[in-house]
Symmetry: C2
DNA sequence: GATCATACCGAACGACCGTTCAAAGTTTGA
DNA sequence: TCAAACTTTGAACGGTCGTTCGGTATGATC
């Protein structure tokens, strides 16, 4: 049996490869569609054999779950860290929206796959954790948005309509943003903030 | 051979039934997902045999195209009629957004199916007309939005960011709107207009 | 260099998909 | 009431899908 340290190194190599496969798969699924891409097609695009995928994932659906996790986990972590600070609501909202838009445009592929599979994700036990993550994030946004509303910093009377508008704008960004486009993530975020705040 | 009038009546009945099938199919696909719903499943949900669908549609994909047409055609027609009037830009935008949001919430199922299948629709010859319709509508929105910007009625400096924000907000409405909710379509539209205009 | 766990291959399999079609049922017009 | 046309049925078919698994290649350990 190899020493403990080597097992760890091995495990890390496995995890890195797995994460890379998730990343590449997100790109392929975003371009061709999750359901429209067969496992052999995906494997070919990734440069491996179809059976090889099953060394890292129990099935196609597990791979999709991994894509969603890779999208949601860092977003949630960053949001919770930002909101843990004791800043004024308006500053928190600014920082949150900037981070959020940046996350969306750096995870465009994940976002497109996620939104495309939303009807499937909204039902079924295997998606519970993904759903929970989405809800937790939305609750965080609702919280800071409500505080901005209470401090009179919002344009709309209804914080829930503000939330829907913001979710719509930010999530849709994944569908039109181009890395070499005119607007940076921060410029886009500032535009959105201009719209919903005074 | 039956007289001409009866042929017409028959044709109308056929068309009505077909339109009803499209309507029902949109609802089923919106709930369960287009790819996740097999033709036998869909047929059972519609109360007909699986083969019966092929009396009205050449295949599952034609049915999806029909759903998109049922969504886009009346929207385009209404938009073109509104913008044919010679009203001030701001009034045109108001009327357009109100009509648009109303259309989205009365065609929620179609919207959800359309957005879910967008990656597939963006490629492939059979989707050309659907793509053209979407582009034509967006051009109409761009036009009136640009005129509002030129007349100084917009909040953002960039009309293209206004467009993306508006598209995001309005299209996302299909995902959260509930008919018995607090907000009417007009109230939602007014909220969106408050955000993007001065 | 022998041994062994890990990483990957790719042909083969069962399941289910969209679609077909001969037959049956229903409606229409005379 | 009869025949023709329209509508619907549902078993059957070929094809593709996701997945399996016995085998091979790779590379680390002693």
């Amino acid at each position: 049996m190899p020493p403990r340290s080597d097992r760890t190194a091995l495990r890390e190599r496995y995890d890195r490869r797995q994460a890379q496969v998730v990343l590449d798969a997100a790109r392929v699924f975003a371009q061709r569609g999750y359901d429209q891409t067969s496992v052999p097609e995906l494997a070919e695009a990734l440069g491996i054999a179809s059976g090889g995928l099953y060394h890292y994932f129990a099935g196609k659906e597990q791979l999709l779950i991994a894509i969603c996790d890779q999208l949601m986990e860092p977003l949630l972590a960053a949001a919770e860290q930002l909101l843990a600070e004791d800043d004024p609501p308006r500053e928190q909202l600014d920082a949150l929206v900037r981070m959020w838009v940046t996350h969306v445009v750096t995870h465009r592929d994940h976002m497109l796959v996620f939104e495309q599979q939303r009807p499937a994700i909204e039902h079924g036990e295997q998606w519970r954790q993904v759903r929970e993550s989405r809800k937790r994030f939305e609750r965080l946004v609702v919280g800071v948005l409500t505080r901005v509303h209470e401090s009179g910093g919002a344009r709309l009377a209804d914080p829930r309509l503000s939330l829907s508008a913001l979710l719509g704008m930010v999530n849709y960004t994944a569908q039109w943003y181009r890395p070499r486009g005119r607007l940076s993530a921060d410029e886009i975020a500032d535009g959105y903030l201009d719209l919903i705040t005074r």
